[in-house]
């Protein structure tokens, strides 16, 4: 039987802030995380219209450092790591030999031979072990940095202005990162996010996270929970690991072939290249429900297929989602029928993203 210590939920450095703000805290990937503060719709719209701040400290970090750090990451990550400049960022997948997706990751190149990779909380331990096992034949140190970082996402048309006002210098452009003092605290500022809006993600010493959180909230950022994070990412069709792809799906059917560079020799490259050449029986599509109803994860799609993510879109004010259907009926404009707890709801396959942010 697991001990109490093993089953206890972990808390981020901002737990007291969340509790004091009246957040609803829920278990998520072994962490006690805020799902909402004032309400998912309010928080969602704050990010689309102004600025919101998310505690994403549950996410993990793995540092790869050493003369062969680039060669090592080129072997384990699906994208072309050589193309990340110093201070650059790149999205990629961690795949098995058979192409099954182990995780999706952002990797930042902090220096020529030093990289920081962000893992999904639920996958962090496995990703770390997977990477460390495969690092043995490279001159690289693969280090678990998760305890060293709190992570805040500041997102929305007003995000950059807010953070710039607290920073000691210009912010990195999209898909870049740099070291800055924000609110007097040294940190990595990264031009990335998971909402489709402009904004930055901040990686900092957990000890200073509450002070930085307070400065951002005082500056007008709406505290946002994982509920809004999910609706925001689904409107712009960003994948959620565990919902929209997992180890039983390959990048091609998940629509992530664009971040798999088959010539780089990464683990899984041959299987992914084969799937790309042959096509896949199913593909992940985005859809909008026509009329009333909200399709949810696990709802069957009639004629074969399943909803992998489904929610109510605060911007589109209708049910939206993603799901796998047979490739021959995966084109935008195609009609679907979804079994929503016994009621058949019509939906239309849409192009991605479902919602296009308006920008600042």
């Amino acid at each position: 039987m697991p001990s109490t210590a093993e089953t206890a939920l972990r808390r981020t450095a901002l737990y007291e802030r969340h509790a004091a703000a009246g957040a609803r805290l829920v278990p998520f990937a072994g962490w006690e995380m805020p799902v909402q503060y004032t309400g998912i719709r309010d928080e969602h719209l704050a990010v689309r219209r102004e600025v919101g701040v998310f505690d994403v400290s549950h996410m993990g970090q793995v540092q790869s450092r050493g003369p062969e750090a680039e060669a090592f990451l080129q072997r384990v990550l699906s994208n072309d790591v050589r193309r990340i400049p110093e201070g650059g960022a790149q999205y990629s997948l961690l795949c098995r030999e058979d192409g099954g997706i182990l995780d999706d990751l952002f990797t930042y190149r902090l220096a020529a031979c030093e990289f920081l990779t962000i893992t999904n909380a639920a996958n962090h331990e496995h990703d770390l072990a997977w990477m460390q096992e495969r690092a043995a034949s490279f001159d690289v140190d693969v280090i678990d940095c998760a305890p060293e970082f709190a992570m805040l996402a500041v997102q929305g048309p007003g995000a950059r202005e807010l953070v710039r006002g607290l920073a000691d210098g210009p912010l990195p452009p999209r898909m870049h990162c740099c070291q800055r003092d924000v609110s007097g605290v040294p940190m990595f500022v990264c031009g990335t996010g998971y909402t489709g809006e402009d904004g930055v993600e901040l990686l900092l010493d957990p000890e200073h996270a509450p002070a930085v959180w307070d400065a951002l909230v005082s500056g007008g950022a709406q505290p946002c929970g994982l509920g809004a994070r999910d609706t925001l990412r689904l409107e712009v069709c960003f994948h959620l690991y565990g919902n929209d792809m997992d180890v039983h799906r390959n990048p091609i059917e998940a629509g992530l072939g664009w971040c798999c560079k088959d010539g780089t020799g990464y683990i899984g490259a041959e299987a992914v290249a084969a799937a790309r050449a042959a096509g896949t029986p199913e593909k992940l599509v985005a859809f909008a429900v026509e009329g009333p109803g909200i399709a949810r994860q696990g709802n069957p799609i009639l004629g074969g297929g399943v909803v992998t993510s489904g929610t109510f879109s605060p911007c589109l004010e209708r049910g939206i989602g993603m799901g796998y259907v047979a490739s021959e009926r995966s084109e935008p404009g195609g009609r679907l029928e979804i079994d929503v707890r016994g009621t058949t709801r019509p939906a239309v396959i849409e192009g991605k993203p479902l919602y296009r942010p308006k920008g600042p």
Binding site: V35, T38, G39, I40, R41, G227, F312, P314
Partner: protein, 131 residues
């Protein structure tokens, strides 16, 4: 902001432990969900009323309310036939949060057995259940 600012459980209603209320008048009961239920659910974004003429059975789900994040079954506090539904909620489901005991009512039911009321909780007992 979601819902009413403070918890309230009016004394003139009967309560079911699954967080539903009934207001019984002349053999017809109005049903809704309690302040606690709407608060737990969060902002209601979708409610499709059940069909008029349908029957509901005490302790059994008869409809659903949905927030952005989740679907929640609504349990019938008493048995009977649905004689009226709150169609206004299709356009403004958030009324269930704002006025759970007023304009946020869900259905009216012609009771099959008005004596079922004796098994429901009064406001004091329901508050004790939540405490």
């Amino acid at each position: 902001m979601n819902g009413m600012s403070d918890a309230s459980y009016p004394d003139d209603l009967l309560y079911h432990p699954e967080h539903d209320w009934a207001r019984v008048e002349d053999g017809v009961a109005t049903f809704g969900i309690t302040w606690y239920a709407q608060e737990a659910l969060g902002e209601v974004v979708f409610f499709e009323p059940p069909a008029v003429g349908g029957t509901v059975s005490k302790d059994e789900p008869y409809t659903e309310v949905e927030s952005v994040k989740a679907v929640s079954d609504v349990v019938a506090p008493m048995s009977g036939e649905i004689v009226e539904v709150n169609t206004a909620l299709a356009d403004s489901p958030e009324t269930i949060n704002d006025e759970p005991y007023g304009e946020g009512w869900l259905v009216k039911v012609k009771l099959a057995d008005p004596d079922e009321a004796s098994s429901l909780l009064d406001a004091a007992a329901y508050r004790a259940l939540l405490a």
